[in-house]
């Protein structure tokens, strides 16, 4: 494998050291247990937002710590849920007395580890609520699966809920807002390549040169189906169709359209996809009021893209436009 790393076992630690050096104006990094908190934490009287997950999805979540977004992010080993002590210590470090919301992506490990941490935090007298994000339409939400994965919508949720927290909304209002957002966003992704987890040393799966995976997650695992690669416009149709039909999005809806790189796909290609996605959205009578285009929730160097669409209203538009100052997303300040 060719990676810009040193010892595979030290990848996350060295990354954290780099983040610490690069963004000391925005964040503080704590080691053993590992977590990243905003430099001015705890912010008194504001609901604190804590998220986390495996490393390898940067900038999510560590790159989203700062004013207007997360108060803390807990990085696990690559593609591995962080452990309860990370979330517990991070929760305590950012608790500003107004309660804490855990934003948890719907993966078996994330849900269990965050739940253990929340229970421990509550035992220590901190008011903790949790919201689970499960926007991926590739997986059937049924008794026969672990449920839909939390993917692209997580980025939008962290921004929107982060802005609501800056407005000093209450824990209950913010938890309700988060659940509302979760209920009206959908995502779907595809991959042109797998990715190589540092300690594994080789790609998680082999994808022939002329094939693609549809319905992937963000951890390098295979998707729902493999098929011959198609042109970008057809791929975009294949991603947009289940998104539109699943909610379903209806004619007249205002939407935020998010085209995300899985890490290896460059902006030049994302804009090609965006162009077609907007055309499809408008053909369905949707009004694209905001967008996000770039690598925001990645899977190491996987080539591929995901699309997320979120139904918007005036409040969500205002929250989206509100200032945010983090390493991975910054506007208005």
């Amino acid at each position: 494998m060719k990676k810009l790393i040193n010892n595979p076992e030290e990848v996350v630690l060295e990354e954290l050291k780099g983040i610490e050096k690069a963004h000391s104006d925005l964040v503080k990094v704590h080691y053993d247990p590992n977590y990243i908190i905003r430099a001015d934490a705890p912010v008194k009287g504001k609901v604190a937002l804590v998220s986390g997950g495996g490393s390898g999805h940067e900038p999510m979540h560590g790159g989203f710590v700062g004013k207007g977004m997360l108060d803390a992010a807990c990085p696990g080993a690559v593609f591995t849920s962080p452990t309860p002590d990370q979330m517990l210590e991070a929760t305590k470090a950012v608790d500003g007395g107004a309660g804490v919301l855990h934003i948890v992506k719907n993966y078996t490990g994330d849900v269990m580890n965050f739940k253990m941490a929340a229970d421990l935090a509550k035992d220590e007298g901190i008011d903790v609520e949790a919201v689970v994000v499960d926007d991926d339409v590739a997986v059937k939400d049924s008794l026969w699966t672990a449920g839909r994965r939390g993917v692209g919508l997580t980025v939008l949720m962290e921004k929107l809920v982060g802005a609501a927290a800056e407005e000093k909304r209450s824990l209950k209002e913010i938890a309700d807002l988060a659940r509302k957002i979760n209920g009206q966003g959908r995502s779907m992704g595809m991959a042109l390549t797998s990715c190589t987890v540092p300690h594994a040393g080789k790609p998680t799966f082999d994808l022939p040169e002329d094939e693609m995976e549809i319905g992937i997650g963000i951890h390098g695992e295979p998707g729902r189906a493999r098929m011959k690669i198609k042109p970008a416009d057809e791929i975009t149709e294949m991603l947009m169709k289940p998104i539109v039909e699943d909610l379903p999005f209806k004619s007249g809806d205002k939407v935020l359209l998010f085209v995300n790189s899985m890490g290896g796909t460059p902006l030049i290609e994302l804009y090609i996809v965006y162009r077609k996605a907007v055309e499809i959205a408008e053909k369905n009578g949707l009004n694209v009021v905001r967008n996000l285009i770039g690598p925001y929730i990645t899977s190491l160097e996987m080539a591929g893209a995901s699309i997320t669409m979120l139904k918007m209203d005036d409040d969500l538009i205002k929250l989206w436009d509100a200032p945010v100052k983090t390493a991975g997303m910054r506007w208005g300040i």
Binding site: V78, T80, A200, G217, E221
Partner: protein
């Protein structure tokens, strides 16, 4: 005939070695139907367990296994951390104060550990998880109750049942965990969690066999 406290420690140390040796194998299994981290996660966890053992080596078996469980929860991560951590912690509740295990003790502990895993993971037999190895092992042990088998023989039967359960995961379509996202594509691959669970019980059977 009983297993001593020191033999329980030998089991944990031996399993740490088995995990180190099988790290790449477990990673390969987890690449086929997962995200390729099971080997590394378990290895990290059990290296942390080895570091904690000296502090509790003179304590009772319950304390030792609880320490193992807590070390796993704080280092393994993923689903494996809470699941294996809970397994050891729940097993330990049946072994408080004990300095040796009879077959009855071990059967109770294994059952408690397995129930603990089911309680937080919510998996059933056939979902293609570690339960597919653990549950048959528990059934086999409970099945030896009236049979006057030696500890060695009973442990061997239990490990064999776990092995059969592990191989039985190959044709299954996963209904829990990351493999379930693959749907039908998860069939034809052995489950990594069932594999590491089988290895746990197989190591116990080997280490505790009385010659």
């Amino acid at each position: 005939m009983a297993v001593t406290r020191d033999e329980v420690i030998s089991w944990i140390k031996a399993y740490s070695q088995v995990i180190a040796e099988n790290k790449d194998y477990l990673t390969d299994l987890d690449s086929a139907i997962g995200d390729a981290d099971h080997g590394a996660n378990m290895h990290r966890g059990f290296q942390a367990v080895l570091a904690k053992l000296p502090v509790v080596e003179d304590k009772d078996i319950g304390t030792i296994l609880k320490t193992v469980g807590m070390a796993l929860i704080s280092t393994v991560g993923g689903a494996g951390g809470p699941l294996y951590g809970t397994f050891f912690i729940q097993a330990s509740t049946k072994l408080q104060g004990k300095m040796e295990l009879t077959l009855t003790d071990w059967a109770a502990a294994l059952e408690a550990g397995t129930i603990g895993v089911v309680n937080i993971g919510k998996a059933s037999v056939g979902d293609k998880t570690m339960i597919d190895a653990l549950n048959p092992a528990v059934q086999a042990l409970n099945g030896t109750a009236g049979q006057e088998l030696s500890m060695t023989e009973a442990l061997k039967k239990s490990a064999e049942a776990a092995e059969e359960g592990m191989r039985g995961t190959i044709p299954l379509v996963a209904r829990k965990g990351r493999a379930s996202y693959l749907g039908e594509r998860s069939a034809g691959h052995q489950d990594p969690g069932a594999t590491s669970s089988f290895l746990l019980l197989d190591t116990a059977a080997n280490v505790w066999a009385k010659r």
